[in-house]
Amino acid sequence: MTTLGDLASLIRSKNAGPFELTFDIMFDNLESFERVLKSGALSAERIASIYRLPVEDVRFFVVPPALAFKASIPRPIFQGDLRDSDSHGGQQYAPLMEIEIS
């Protein structure tokens, strides 16, 4: 079974300002990028279901020149607010690694 974590050259999460969180999924070759694109495994719906969000909260982008996919969501807790656990938003991507790619 191949996962997104096996195919991507980089999967990362980061704050996009203190109020949003953004995920970048990048590839180092066109073949892997197109394989993931064609598999349909990555979409706004998929991100919404993994992070248990309404789909309208997810902005999803395919960025061919960067061989990348990107998704942005509102932070459930704003950066630095009392119950925030990841000030830079850097460790929120791990569940994306498990996505199976056909």
Partner: protein, 476 residues
């Protein structure tokens, strides 16, 4: 070293004399994070029209803005500024620094001003220094709010006059216009408070005739320094060269490569939307941008566009003190406790509530926040964690109390520690000690804690009214 045997000819700040080419050096991604002396020297050998450097971010959270302190140590900022100042003064070109001291408020700007004055004295430099203020007057903000000229971005916290009163500090994020005005007033060196990272770099090339789309796209790359490279060994300097209908970008360390993919990918970093980047004066549109390898380490970019905004807006950033915090770090190894950790947590919180009511008056008892972080369960991702079952053989606990004073926070967290230590579970009879504490005393006082209290934009009358400029003759 920066010293060259033959002084460089001053770069020409007039496109008619320099042809169409406009060259810009970015010293590094954040002033204080460092760069190689050899890289900025290589950049100066290309005779840039100016040097720019971003010095701030909300990345370190609300504390720098709230406390008035920088995220990077003064010594590291001084090292970087010294090299930039010497390079800029030797070449006779402007140095533009934005978001001084991380958060770009008054104390941050004053701190960086003092560093600049120290360097000037130590190096015997003479120049005209512009300081651009970005911390906002509360009366001004209240007026704009009443006029309906402050509106929320999405998502945004509640923002009203009470928030303005309570805020420790609110800054506006300036556009390119105050930088240009400072240069028009004769500034050689501009140290600005909070500024759009890209505005530092976009204004001057546009004035020199570069199309705004290319200028803003290049600015977005310049503001992060060598982060645009394939792999960045350390923060470092980069160069952008604008030509007719394109710009070229390269890292100034000859060992560092940029590729079309690495440059295109940079538009993703720390942005919610990789195709549209919103600035005060308009929106950078990258949907038609194309990237072409010039050679193994340089990239040519074309096709970036800029749509002017119908209404000029200035983004606000503010920090409000939430209280004072004390924490206790401990851990649990008993599988009986681990398998009932949710129930255990609820009972702990309830017991604590009872003890606080015994010890404090009703007002204090209603004004503390207890937060139990459980590492090994969902300590990292909290509400976003999809894994709901705990499989770890040990858990790390952070007991955290935030209260109106440090003394109350420490008292309550100490009570929480005692309750947690001996909280009974049905599997054992008799007194247990269910948490391993690391330190003695067990608590750590974290001091004041802050929150970001605004994600709104102001509609000013013009791009300058929120950003007054002071001029100083340095070394005169």
């Amino acid at each position: 070293m920066l010293e060259t045997k033959q002084p460089l000819e001053p770069a020409v700040a007039d496109p008619a004399r320099s042809g169409l080419e406009v060259r810009v050096v970015s010293a590094t991604g954040v002033c204080g994070s460092g760069f190689k002396e050899s890289s900025i020297a290589a950049g100066m050998a290309r005779r840039p029209h100016f040097i720019g450097c971003d010095a701030g971010s909300t990345d370190p959270g609300p504390a720098p803005l709230g406390t008035g302190t920088p995220a990077f140590p003064g010594r590291a900022v001084k090292r970087d500024l010294r090299l930039m100042l010497k390079a800029a003064r030797q070449a006779g070109v402007p140095l533009l620094v934005g978001s001084a001291g991380t958060a770009g408020g008054e104390p941050h700007l004053a701190l960086v001003r003092d560093i600049v004055l120290e360097i000037a004295q130590e190096e015997g430099l003479r120049f005209r220094l512009a300081l651009i203020h970005a911390e906002q007057d509360k009366v001004y903000l209240k007026n704009r709010l009443r006029q309906g000229r402050i509106r929320p971005l999405k998502p945004a916290p509640e923002f009203d006059e009470g928030v303005i009163d309570r805020a420790e500090r609110i800054v506006g994020m300036m556009g390119e216009e105050p930088f240009l005005r400072a240069l028009d007033q004769g500034a050689d060196v501009v140290i600005a408070g909070r500024a759009s990272d890209c505005a530092i770099f976009a204004g001057l090339p546009i004035r020199m005739g570069v199309p705004p789309g290319l200028a803003w796209h290049a600015a977005k790359l310049l503001e992060c320094g060598s982060a645009i490279a394939v792999s960045r060994p350390s923060p470092d300097s980069i160069l952008v060269t604008f030509g007719d209908g394109y710009f070229d970008v390269e890292a100034l360390d000859p060992e560092v490569r940029c590729t079309p993919q690495s440059v295109a990918a940079h538009a993703l970093y720390e942005n919610a939307d990789p195709f549209r980047l919103i600035e005060s004066s308009g929106t950078l549109d990258l949907t038609q941008a194309s990237y072409e390898a010039l050679d193994a380490r340089r990239v040519r970019v074309r096709g970036s566009r800029f749509e002017p905004a119908a209404t000029y807006t200035v983004k606000l950033e503010g920090a409000e003190r939430v209280g004072y915090q004390s924490i206790v770090i401990g851990s649990v190894r008993d599988p009986f406790i681990i398998r009932q950790i949710d129930n255990w947590s609820e009972r702990l919180e309830e017991k604590l509530r009872g003890r606080v009511a015994d010890v404090f008056d009703a007002e204090t008892a209603a004004n503390y926040v207890f937060n139990l972080r459980i590492y090994g369960k969902d300590g990292t991702m909290g509400p976003l964690e999809p894994v709901r079952s705990v499989t770890s053989h040990e858990l790390c606990l952070v007991l955290e109390v935030t209260a109106p004073t440090q003394e109350v926070a420490t008292t309550i967290v100490s009570m929480a520690r005692h309750q947690a230590l001996h909280l009974p579970i049905p599997e054992w009879s008799g007194l247990i000690t269910g948490v391993a504490c690391i330190y003695s005393p067990a608590y750590l006082e974290r001091g004041a804690v802050y929150r970001f209290c605004v994600n709104h934009v102001v509609e000013p009358d013009d791009p300058y009214e929120m950003f007054p400029i002071d001029m100083l003759e340095v070394g005169a």
